[in-house]
Symmetry: C2
Subunit: 220 residues, 2 copies
């Protein structure tokens, strides 16, 4: 059984490991809003418990056990987000902090029943996949909107940026999950993208387009 803090470290390491193999001390410290010295302390503790592999100065990787623990926390976080949005009518930009607390509630029974109550959702309100109780993720096939060519179309199925500002912006533009879109133009000048929705056209910056994930429905 881990403390909340240990769980948060494991989760952070898990997410950082999606980009790099060996996760660096400084990266963890920045993510967790703490100091590198504190991270070193905790890493040693997690290594003693067999949750991470650690070689001095070489960063950490999660062990099988550590990874399973992290995935379980991710599962809980995402299920609670679905609960907050689907049942309590929170907006997708309001759920992160509360889920950050709820994810640490320890009861296997609770999460299984919650999962069932929610209808075994496969993705959270931002389109991130929810692992099943065995830690397995459904395969997802995303492509970044920025990579689409003029004329390509697809469905918005996720975002790779969870900041409230970004999510509110998308909401305002009508770019929410499930929306059908087609790229109608890409501006030479700044790379901004013009998008056709069922009922309107909107223009988004390159930066925004980078963080919208599309599941293409056939095409090119």
């Amino acid at each position: 059984m881990q403390s909340y803090t240990e769980e948060n470290y494991l989760k952070t390491i898990y997410h950082l490991a999606e980009r790099t193999t060996n996760v660096q001390t400084n990266a963890i410290a920045e993510q967790m809003q703490t100091k590198p010295a504190s991270v070193t302390d905790m890493i040693k503790k997690l290594a003693d418990k067999g949750l991470v592999d650690y070689i001095k100065y070489q960063g950490v990787t999660l062990t099988e056990t550590g990874k399973n623990t992290a995935i379980d926390i991710v599962r809980k976080h995402r299920l609670w987000e679905v609960f907050l949005v689907d049942k309590l009518n929170f907006k997708w930009d309001e759920v992160h902090d509360v889920a950050e607390e709820l994810e640490h509630i320890r009861s296997v029974e609770l999460i299984e029943r919650l999962d069932e109550f929610l209808g075994f959702p496969k993705a959270d309100p931002h389109g991130d996949p929810i692992p099943d109780k065995n830690g397995r993720f459904a395969k997802t096939q995303f492509i970044k909107l920025i990579e689409l060519k003029v004329g390509d179309s697809g469905t918005i199925t996720g975002v790779s940026q969870h900041s409230s500002a970004f999510l509110k912006h998308l909401e305002k533009l009508g770019l929410t999950l499930g929306k059908q879109i087609q790229v109608s133009d890409v501006t030479d000048f700044d790379g901004s993208v013009e998008i056709r929705l069922s009922d309107k056209q909107v223009n988004i910056s390159r930066e925004v387009a980078k963080h919208i994930l599309i599941s293409s429905n056939g095409k090119n």
Copy 2:
């Protein structure tokens, strides 16, 4: 903002204060499964924060602020219990420990929306009243089953014992909240009580009868 531990102390003191005015160090220690010395330390801290009034060797009482904080935790605990039973199909004897964790989640928005989602319940699955968001309790008029005379009838509206063993026992006998009952006999020998339900008769010990709360529907 209090730590989980501080919240638990406040809640414990609140419940103990329902029976005695000045709450004793030892009583808190026993309830919280800790040592009196630890309680003294924490009491000092709570006193410094203005959450309890404390005179050495004289026990503690909650201040207005302390009491409000405690009531807020009680509110959260009971709302989560309703959620667990009504929405996730937990039994009334299974919810306590999980609610004990959930009660510490800090989000006013969450609790208000949960309250609404649950239909603003007035009582938890054990019949305990749920304070509203201003900390006010609906007036309740309970009488212990043991105090009823032969012939008296009423509705089971609460229990004053939350142990799993007790609750499972009641469940098995069919003595659940909302059931109409009438006292058909009281045994001289051991004070056990015979109860008529709509479809059957059951016999319960004095000890059990002490912990069943009845709202009388007119009578005697």
